[in-house]
Point group: C2
């Protein structure tokens, strides 16, 4: 997992200190990964340039091949890193309410907010799907991560059904795909949607409305 902030390009001066860290494998690797995440998200797998990634990372292009083998290997590492990050956030999610309805609403809103705050994840996922998920399928890391949100949905569905607050017979995986999709589509397709509806989808008001709407849809559906 990479902190995208606070990564100094390898070879840069330390904070305040005048000693120049001449070598720092960890940092070089991390700064290449961070730079690659930005570049791949902005320009796609084909569109991104290894020279630009290296320059942005403050590293030599040779180092990409040293650490990641190839441009595709680097892309795969970026995806693994990004998946690990979202799964980590999901696992850290603490729902503040024990009430299934309230908790489910929080979960849906969390999902919406996550896509809002991580546009690079949306872009990378789109890119990966354009390539038939070749890199995810090649990655043991990405495939072996467990899915905290699906577990959570399962648990809420069960409790809500028992208490009579939710309908019964809902497949948690289907619901997960719907919760993700209903928010994801809004962000992934916001450029064409904005152009066609001539609406500014990223305006604060539009975001607030949408957020409310997606919560309403899921909770409205789940009523018994």
């Amino acid at each position: 997992m990479t902190e995208t902030t606070d990564i100094k390009p390898a070879g840069e001066l330390g904070n305040g200190s005048t000693e120049r860290t001449t070598r720092d494998p960890e940092r070089t690797r991390a700064s290449i990964l961070a730079a690659a995440t930005q570049e791949f998200a902005a320009k796609g797998l084909e569109g991104a340039r290894t020279d630009d990634i290296a320059r942005r990372a403050g590293a030599n292009k040779r180092m990409i091949y040293h650490y990641f083998g190839s441009k595709e290997g680097l892309f795969q590492a970026v995806l693994e890193d990004t998946y690990a990050e979202i799964r980590g956030s999901e696992a850290a999610l603490q729902l503040t309410s024990r009430d299934p309805v309230e908790a489910m609403g929080q979960l849906v809103a969390f999902s919406f907010d996550w896509f809002l705050k991580h546009p690079e994840f949306v872009k990378l996922l789109n890119e990966e799907n354009l390539h038939g998920a070749a890199h995810v399928r090649a990655s043991n890391v990405a495939r072996s991560l467990n899915m905290p949100l699906v577990e959570l949905i399962s648990e809420l569905l069960e409790r809500g059904a028992k208490s009579g607050q939710f309908r019964t017979g809902v497949d948690p995986v289907q619901l997960y795909i719907s919760i993700a999709g209903i928010s994801y589509f809004y962000f992934s397709n916001r450029y064409t949607l904005s152009a066609i509806f001539n609406r500014q989808l990223e305006a604060p008001g539009a975001l607030r409305e949408r957020r409310e709407h997606v919560v309403d849809i899921i909770l409205g559906y789940l009523r018994p």
Copy 2:
């Protein structure tokens, strides 16, 4: 609008007849457009090769520049053509029931089936959004097409609210985005979803289940 089937490469022999049609501008243009649709959908804007498009179309590469100016111009033409096609299908949609609930179910299922039958549309839209909708924004054609499905949703929402079958206060555009998104995401992200859930999302059974689920969500939400 292009018929993707039955387009003979320019310069090919006619059916049965031995006369070789030496020149046919319409056909050359159409076959380039059809070939480009396939290539761009399969490999993206950067990934597609103009040489491959020309070969597939049975045309000379020069003709791409003759008719479309540039690779980007060709991509824009492909998008316009594809948008015109979906809007045309939407306009032709005849809901068989007057009952708002039944009609809305048919509309949602139609949307699902459309994405299922037109994977190239999903890919092209993804690609276009990866590029910030640059080509849609540049296209008067794409932006000026009206949106039959939004009109239809509006009308059904009104009738359903009046009859007490639907909740009130639903924004038709929000609902349109949700109906599209809930199906679109399933198809656009089916590669990564399949890999991660280790499920075959395109199996007939999975499709049937999903189709039922998306209809249930929308109708479940719309209950008063």
